[in-house]
């Protein structure tokens, strides 16, 4: 009686010991040549990728009998999304064919061998000509090959509530010309409207992840003339005046009570709460955020806010002292990339092309509140009429900056978030936090790969 279960157990144990080699090719669910798996982020207010991929699955399967488009939405914040996709990529069985991927992680995932170059497909694709060349920088890795197609880009700036500005007697449209003017307006708002309104929201600290680093810190740093990476010497910059000044700005707004209370700012959901609740309720006067936040307010959003075009204004972020070119911005954007372990990359590329069609790209640009990278979409009346700030946000592409998207960047970014958090909690002065950052960077990249800033 007991022998059969024992034998089963022995086989199971042996299989577990031998691991992937024993289970091998026969049992790989993701390795059916007629199945294309797509992994993408479906989190918080961002629903556009899910809507798009569901549409693609339905259409593509209807047009191609026998083909399955398997969707793997991941409901997790961006950092956990990356970790999960990386874990999937480490397994031959789980590695997806198409990956919705933040462009700043492309280089490190190329180094890890997770992505396959798509140059040969790109050259033969007749719609490739519609793609803006400036977006190429984000998808061409250091080895010179193309690893993805941008599905949209973005810029960042100062969203402000015109009603609160009128209430405080501040002249409209608001066009601040230096950090001091931004801080001055925030202080005036605090004086005039009082405690119910947060004058200035700037994301900071580790719970907000990359948003704190990019929308918060680097929107400041890029206006100081200093940077994170020196392209000329190809080294990471430590000890720059701009870095410490940017931390000082963070220190000022959090210690003077101009920003959100640190305990609200250090909530991982602060972005969703701000954009879905605090801003529509008129509780935040100015928010330094991305061009896409209108996706929280449009008709297809979770909580539509049809009055937003009459309430919200958008001003470019000024440089520190108003030095040329006067304003600054940061851009990123997500891409579709091809997994290197795909058993049928030709089919995966067909699905990618379908996803990137003009019709789908237009829908994604509207629902995801993206700045399109396809020229024909950017110029289409359909796109322009939906988003009243589309032109202002797109104009910032001229002064925008990109992150140094090298392999070490994500860890550098986390070091920035930790420096910001230490400052906002009062655990360190801006100078101390900047020095701690310098040490961390030196540790991360090695002392040969750092250079002292001005």
């Amino acid at each position: 009686m007991t022998r059969a279960p024992l034998r089963v157990a022995a086989v199971a144990a042996a299989a577990a010991l031998l691991g992937p080699t024993a289970t091998g090719c026969s049992l790989r669910p993701g390795h059916d040549p007629d199945t294309v798996t797509v992994v993408y982020s479906h989190y918080g207010t961002f629903r556009a990728a899910d809507t798009l991929m569901r549409k693609v699955k339905e259409e593509f399967e209807a047009e191609n009998r026998g083909v399955t488009v398997e969707l793997r939405p991941i409901e997790a914040p961006p950092e956990d999304y990356q970790a999960q996709v990386n874990l999937m990529n480490q397994s031959d069985d789980e590695a997806p064919d198409i990956i919705y991927e933040d462009s700043f992680t492309i280089n490190q995932n190329v180094d890890a061998g997770y992505l396959a170059p798509i140059d040969h497909y790109w050259e033969e694709w007749d719609e490739a000509k519609y793609y803006q060349e400036q977006a190429d920088a984000a998808v061409i890795a250091l080895d010179g090959k193309r690893y993805g197609v941008m599905v949209g880009t973005d810029t960042r700036g100062l969203w402000y509530n015109t009603r609160l500005f009128e209430q405080a007697g501040i002249e409209l449209p608001w066009e601040p010309e230096s950090w001091d003017e931004v801080l001055g307006t925030a202080r005036e708002l605090k004086r005039e409207i009082g405690d119910d309104v947060t004058p200035l929201n700037v994301y900071s600290g580790t719970p907000m992840g990359e948003a704190a680093s990019m929308q918060g810190f680097q929107m400041l740093l890029s206006g100081t003339g200093d940077g994170l990476f020196d392209e000329e010497s190809r080294r990471w910059v430590v000890g720059s005046a701009g870095f410490a000044d940017s931390l000082r700005f963070i220190d000022t707004i959090y210690s003077e009570g101009l920003a959100l209370d640190p305990q609200d700012a250090l909530n991982a959901n602060v972005g969703t709460i701000n954009n879905e609740e605090r801003i529509p309720a008129g509780e935040i006067a100015i928010s330094l955020d991305g061009s896409w936040i209108t996706q929280s307010w449009i008709a297809t959003a979770g909580k539509p806010w049809p009055e937003w075009p009459r309430t919200m204004g958008f001003a470019p972020m000024p440089t520190q002292h108003g030095q040329a070119p006067g304003t600054t911005s940061m851009s990123g954007g997500w891409t579709l990339a091809l997994g290197s372990k795909s058993v049928n990359p030709d089919l995966a590329w067909e699905v990618m092309k379908h996803t990137l069609s003009k019709e789908n790209a237009t829908q994604f640009a509207i629902e995801g509140a993206q700045i399109p990278v396809r020229v024909d979409v950017a110029e289409s009346a359909e796109y322009l009429q939906v988003n009243p700030i589309a032109e202002e946000a797109a104009a910032l592409v001229e002064v925008t900056h990109f992150r140094p998207a090298y392999s070490e960047y994500p860890r550098i970014s986390l070091a920035i978030q930790e420096a910001m958090e230490a400052v906002m909690l009062g655990d360190a002065t801006p100078g101390q936090a900047a020095r701690a950052y310098d040490d961390r960077v030196e540790h991360l990249v090695g002392s040969d790969n750092i250079t002292s800033g001005g």
């Binding site: 144990a13 577990a16 010991l17 874990l87 480490q90 909690l425």
Partner: protein
């Protein structure tokens, strides 16, 4: 002998396997992404040297010990023993009621327990509602006292285990010994101190051991409640391990932190076993 082979294989693959993998990984630069993911290299003791120079590690090790002592040793085992003693010789209804409440907390999944405590301690939470009602100042406990918050939650969640374990131990103590002590004029406290506790030593040692092993690896509860923050004020070793291995993607260094955790838990366990070893029966 032969029937033992499957069990041995299972043990090897599911227990020894992961530990060996951890030891191996801690000697490499294994990573989730970047070139180290494609070409993992043997780096010798580099991860251990880095660990010993990392202030974040010492902070986390200290927090882990505080969390363990406060929520595991003092909180769960003392409260569990007191509850077990109080429940002795009580009516079935009382035992059912108290046991039901305590065990109820124990069987709740950790994620749910985390959210329950968030709802209780957050700024608009139940605790602040009660404090407001009596005119006391309110605060966001998860932000102002993160370690205390997770300690309380873990005591609430884990006490049932030691309570049940002590109840079983107490039932084994012969009543005539206690009666003899009472006949000699001992009060209730003296009976517990001189008779019950010495006879309970073996149970205390086992319970402490199990509670310790369970407490040092608490992750979900803390992650849900504070995620290790604010700053790194509730970043115990399991959370540090998660941050290094999955947020930073440094699997090699993350597993080194895991090994350090194993060493700390192991040495504490050895300490209890020695200190509470029952005297030899003559």
């Amino acid at each position: 002998m032969l029937p033992l082979v499957p069990a041995l294989l299972l043990l090897l693959s599911f227990f020894a396997g992961p530990i060996l993998w951890t030891v191996w990984a801690s000697l490499t630069n294994a990573a989730l992404t970047g070139s180290a993911a494609a070409h993992t290299e043997f780096v010798g003791t580099a991860n251990f040297q880095r660990l010993l120079a990392d202030p974040a590690f010492f902070n986390s090790a200290l927090l882990t010990v505080v969390f363990l002592v406060a929520s595991g040793v003092v909180g769960q085992t003392v409260l569990g023993l007191v509850l077990a003693l109080l429940m002795q010789n009580r009516g079935a209804a009382v035992r059912m009621a108290v046991g039901g409440v305590v065990v109820g907390a124990w069987v709740v999944p950790e994620v749910v327990a985390g959210f329950v405590w968030v709802a209780f301690l957050e700024r608009e939470g139940t605790l602040n509602g009660l404090l407001e009602a009596v005119g006391a100042p309110t605060q966001n406990w998860l932000y102002t006292a993160p370690l205390l918050a997770v300690v309380l939650a873990n005591v609430w969640k884990g006490t049932a285990f030691s309570m049940m374990s002590y109840s079983a131990g107490l039932a084994e103590i012969p009543t005539d010994l206690k009666e003899a002590a009472r006949a000699d004029g001992a009060g209730p406290v003296q009976v517990v101190w001189h008779v019950v506790l010495p006879l309970l030593r073996r149970t205390v040692a086992t319970t402490l051991l199990l509670v310790t092993l369970q407490t040092v690896q608490v992750f979900t509860l803390i992650y849900v409640m504070t995620a290790g923050g604010p700053g790194d004020r509730s970043m115990t070793l399991p959370l540090l391990m998660y941050r290094e291995a999955l947020r930073f993607g440094e699997l090699g260094y993350g597993t080194t932190v895991a090994l350090a955790l194993l060493v700390i838990a192991g040495s504490l366990s050895a300490l209890y076993v020695r200190a509470l070893r029952p005297e030899e029966v003559r």
